[in-house]
């Protein structure tokens, strides 16, 4: 069974075209059954073994391996029933121009008897399947996530299309201490003007607040973005647009542990589960500030022992194609040798200003982002 051939024309803005793409899947199932064939859909396999580097876009995308959702097994048949039920629901949602969240979709399936999802993970995954199958992002068929967008603060003026009409906002002058919250539909934002030289994306709230309090954005003409842990699609999309449209370097500042490296990787290269969206979300030019394992040694940072899970995660990263560079191999190996990890805020050992006065300038210099 070859993968379904869905029309490759770009997603049109009107719900009808998107509904057609979705219904195309159902048509495929229908014609298979009509011919007496076992209905099945092939979806790209979403494992790290099946992501590959795309020369053209510089990001990691899915390779050729596909997994089949086939009625050959009872589980597969059930999966197709669920898929069809979701398509039916989405078609209706597009027709009446409503939207719903991933969580709402999961609850809606309560009424679907056999097609009911046992947990939200499964409905989330099915939505990802659909994104791949019809080459649309879920936002385009009106499925949102709950996660709130990033906070952003810095010398940037934007215009947001809201339900209450367009709003013009300056992300430093018009906002409070915690900055401006990016909406889920990042493409509803238009960049008007800016005075920035760089974007610093920060993992933890504590460090974001520290940089704001120390006036780092002012002193360095920087736009600060709070990633809030693993960044949402909206945050990643925003970073990509800041980089692509405003030509700003994206610098990622996280803790010094394997989970934080994955945060960086998903910003820079895309995530394994979302590689179908890499070209839309990933910023291949993003750079990693730290905390680097070598910083633990160089700055004599307070550190914690690696847990077993940490070590497992580091080992997994050694076989992850996204970390297959001399830099990452060296740093990960070093960390395994050290057996230790450090948080961003461990820099406070040398005083609250140390991060803005010493560490960041040194690291930015090293990355060539700071020309003084």
């Amino acid at each position: 069974m070859s993968p379904p051939k869905t029309p490759r024309k770009p997603a049109s803005g009107n719900g009808n075209g998107k509904a057609k793409k979705l219904v195309g899947l159902v048509e495929l199932l229908y014609s298979q059954m009509e011919k007496g064939e076992i209905p099945s859909l092939d979806v790209a396999t979403r494992t790290k073994q099946n992501i590959e580097y795309s020369e053209s876009s510089g990001v990691w995308v899915y390779g050729d391996a596909t997994s089949s959702r086939s009625a050959k097994t009872a589980r597969g048949a059930l999966q197709l029933l669920k898929t069809t039920s979701v398509v039916e629901f989405l078609k209706h949602q597009l027709e009446v121009d409503k939207s719903s969240t991933l969580r709402e979709l999961y609850y809606i399936s309560e009424n679907w008897e056999d097609a009911k999802f046992p947990d939200q993970n499964e409905s989330d995954r099915l939505i990802e399947d659909l994104e791949i199958l019809v080459e649309l992002q879920r936002e385009q068929f009106h499925i949102r996530s709950e996660e709130s967008g990033a906070s952003i603060l810095g010398p940037l003026e934007i215009r947001e299309r809201t339900r209450r009409g367009p709003k013009k906002i300056h992300c430093e002058d018009d906002v409070g201490e915690s900055g401006y919250t990016i909406p889920t539909q990042v493409d509803n934002i238009e960049f008007l003007r800016h005075d920035a030289r760089m974007v610093v994306a920060i993992e933890t709230g504590g460090m974001y607040d520290r940089l704001v309090e120390n006036g780092f954005h002012d002193d360095n003409d920087a736009i600060l973005v709070h990633l809030k842990g693993q960044p949402s699609r909206g945050t990643k999309r925003l970073l990509k647009r800041l980089h692509g449209e405003l030509n700003l370097p994206i610098l990622v500042f996280t803790d010094g542990d394997p989970w934080s490296y994955r945060i960086f990787a998903s910003v820079a290269y895309g995530s394994i589960k979302g590689a179908h969206l890499s070209e839309y979300l990933a910023t291949p030019g993003a750079k990693f500030i730290g905390i680097q394992p070598s910083d633990i040694v160089a700055y004599k940072l307070p550190s914690d022992k690696l847990t077993d899970q940490d070590i497992q995660a580091l080992k997994a990263e050694l076989t992850d194609p996204r970390f297959d560079t001399p830099y990452w191999k060296k740093e990960i190996q070093l960390q395994m040798d050290l057996g230790r990890k450090s948080e961003q805020q461990s820099l406070a050992k040398y005083g609250l200003d140390y991060v803005t006065d010493t560490y960041l300038p040194e690291r930015l210099q090293a990355l060539g982002a700071l020309k003084k």
Binding site: V23, V26, E27, L29, Y30, M33, E34, G36, E37, I38, P39, A71, K72, T73, A74, A77, L78, L80, L81, T84, S85, V87, E88, K91, E113, D114, A115
Partner: protein, 655 residues
């Protein structure tokens, strides 16, 4: 004072007391060794001895046994007195013989013949007569008739224990509506129970290993139980055989020598089995004797040497012609009739020998059905087709079962004990000499040769069971999947059609493909049959279109398809389990009662059953060879219930 007189008897005194003890007197004092220890057992023994005799007599006369057993409370108040009646359709007993047969211990037709029979020593029925007389004082009543055109004779007798002779109280001609047969009535002290080791249990076990017998039983409450025949074939009557030197003891040899006038060489060749001129010479040489010497001149010492050389010279094992195993086919039928089971496996081993006596071991295992899951398996033991009810713990047939590790075969077991699970084991030892541990014939001794054969047979049925269980698991999985598929796919079709606002597609072809089924599909004026399975399918197809009915025998390779020019609306497939057939839209199951056969039942067909020979209403029909040597090797075990093979044997042979 004469101290000797005070101390005891003189030799003269003793001589006055010394006299012959008749066998009858001996048994009167030691009746427990003949199976008359408890009242319950005594009653069962009387039934058993009479039924054994009836079965023996019928088989020897080539008649299909029809046996009637009745236990009645004796008139009067005594709750522990019973009348036992056993009646058969056998050859009858010549009138003059009746007193000896029933009134003399150690008198019978089996002892001097080397071949398998139930009775052996000639003490069975006369011991019962004796027991009746000892416990109730009532005589035995015998009615017997040897031919339809001759009168029956009715004899009342007791046993004179001193002289080991019958005392005939009454003898008269009588009329009897049976063409021939024998009826024995005894009044005995006993206790009537049901359940383990009871009369009904004994009869049930009897019916299982004697599927050619019809047994009717009327219990003291007046309830009738009937064990019908499941076979119209008499077991092959075993041939008589001469003694095999390997099993000949000193006493037997001396008795054989007594009346022989001839040379040693001829004696050995002529009177023993498996002895030719060469072997005779070897035996004589080993005993350092001249083959030309006259046997009459044999000294005790020489006889002793001869018996020793019998053991030393290499001999062919005794022939199994004198044995009559039940046979795999009849064991299968007996069990199929007697128990409910999902699976039955039967094994008749090739013959072996122990101490110069041939023997054959047979084992059958019935699994599932109504057998209790949590209990130890029931083991039915048999020796020469006689159920063994007592002393299971002392018996080699039980020991062999305990020594097999059953877990790998799918039965629970703790240590070296009987396995546990919903199964019944039938274990049979047939031999011209069953090595019982005691005269009460309850338990077989642990003879290594017998144990080894039992072990092989038990493991064989164990392997069959394992195969069945794993196949059944596969079937269960398949059924589970099919249930899900049959639930989900129509919903999918419905949903897919709903989204597209088109009629839902027919799911039958998809289901057939997923399950590897045979698909029948109506297409305009034609009918398609397509095999989506991985094995070739042969089946009989019946179809109806309005009032027209047609039938085909079809054979389809995997992936193959046949188109029939027939606008069928109803179809029926024979030779495939229903769940392996999928009907497309517009086809309904054909159920007009004209279908040649009912649905296929899930009974295991062990595949090595023999096909029964032709019509068999007459008892003169040729005796089929059941159970014989090497059969196991030539015919592999198949699980008919799960292949496409139909259940009944005559169907299996259909082209």
């Amino acid at each position: 004072m004469d101290s000797s007189a005070a101390r005891g008897a003189t030799a003269q005194d003793l001589a006055r007391k010394q006299r012959e003890i008749s066998v009858a007197e001996f048994f009167e004092k030691n009746r427990q060794i003949l199976g008359f220890d408890s009242p319950q057992r005594s009653l069962a023994t009387c039934v058993k001895e009479a039924v054994d005799n009836s079965l023996d007599a019928c088989e020897e006369a080539g008649l299909l046994p029809d046996i009637y057993v009745e236990i009645r409370r004796a008139p009067g108040d005594a709750a522990n007195l019973f009348r036992v009646i056993v009646e058969d359709n056998g050859p009858g007993i010549v009138a003059e013989q009746v007193p000896r047969v029933f009134g003399k211990l150690l008198y019978g037709s089996h002892f001097h013949v080397i071949r398998q029979s139930r009775g052996q020593q000639g003490i069975g029925i006369s011991a019962c007569v004796l027991y009746a007389q000892l416990t109730t004082g009532r005589p035995a009543l015998v009615l017997t008739k040897t031919a339809p055109d001759r009168p029956a004779s009715r004899v009342e007798l007791t046993l004179d224990t001193r002289r080991n002779e019958a005392r005939v109280l009454r003898r008269e001609e009588a009329s009897w509506d049976r063409p021939r047969g024998t009826r024995v009535e005894l009044e005995v002290r006993g206790a009537y129970f049901t359940g383990r080791r009871s009369v009904p249990e004994y009869l049930r076990a009897c019916a299982i290993v004697n599927p050619h017998a019809r047994i009717t039983f009327l219990d003291p409450e007046g309830m009738e139980a009937r064990f019908d025949r499941s076979s119209d074939h008499l077991p092959r009557l075993p041939g008589e055989s001469k003694p095999h030197p390997g099993g000949t003891e000193m006493g037997t040899l001396l008795k054989m020598v007594e009346h022989y006038a001839g040379a040693l060489g001829e004696f050995l060749q002529g009177e023993f089995a498996r002895v030719g001129p060469k072997t005779a010479r070897e035996i004589a040489d080993a005993a350092q004797m001249d083959p030309q010497m006259r046997v009459g001149d044999l000294t005790r010492g020489q006889a002793q040497r001869l018996v020793e050389s019998f053991r030393r010279v290499k001999l062919l094992p005794p022939s199994a012609d004198s044995l009559s195993p039940i046979g795999e086919d009849l064991m299968f039928r007996g069990l199929q009739k007697g128990v409910t089971a999902d699976f039955i496996s039967v094994v008749t081993r090739p013959p072996g020998s122990h101490g110069g006596h041939p023997f054959i071991v047979e084992v059958a295992l019935a699994y599932g059905g109504a057998a209790p899951r949590e209990e130890k398996v029931e083991v039915l033991r048999f020796a020469n087709r006689v159920p063994l009810l007592y002393q299971p713990g002392a018996c080699a047939l039980t020991h062999a079962v305990e020594r097999v590790h059953w877990r790998p075969y799918g039965l629970d077991q703790s240590g070296e004990s009987l396995p546990q699970g919903p199964a019944l084991l039938l274990v049979h030892l047939a031999s011209t000499h069953v090595p019982f541990v005691s005269e009460s014939k309850d338990a077989v001794a642990d003879i290594p040769e017998v144990l080894a054969e039992l072990d092989l047979a038990l493991k064989q049925v164990g392997r069959d069971l394992k195969g069945f269980l794993s196949k059944r698991k596969g079937i269960e999985k398949r059924r589970e999947k099919e249930d899900l598929i049959q639930r989900i796919l129509p919903k999918l079709a419905e949903k897919v059609g709903g989204v597209l606002q088109r009629p839902p597609p027919d799911t039958a072809p998809v289901v057939a493909r997923i399950m590897g089924n045979l698909l029948l599909q109506r297409d305009g004026a034609r009918l398609h049959a397509a095999n989506h399975g991985e094995a070739p399918r042969r089946f009989h197809l019946a179809a109806r279109s309005h009032q027209v009915r047609k039938e085909w025998d079809l054979s389809l390779e995997p992936g193959a398809r046949r188109t029939l020019d027939f606008p069928a609306d109803h179809v029926h497939v024979e030779g495939l389990p229903a769940e392996m057939v999928t009907l497309g839209r517009g086809l309904a199951p054909l159920d007009d009662g004209k279908s040649p056969r009912g649905p296929v039942t899930r009974v295991h067909n062990p595949g090595r059953r023999e096909a029964p020979a032709g019509p068999t209403s007459s008892s003169l029909a040729p005796l089929p060879r059941t159970g014989a040597t090497g059969k196991r090797e030539t015919s592999p075990t198949t699980l008919a219930a799960f292949s496409a093979e139909p259940e009944k044997p005559e169907e299996a042979t259909r082209p």
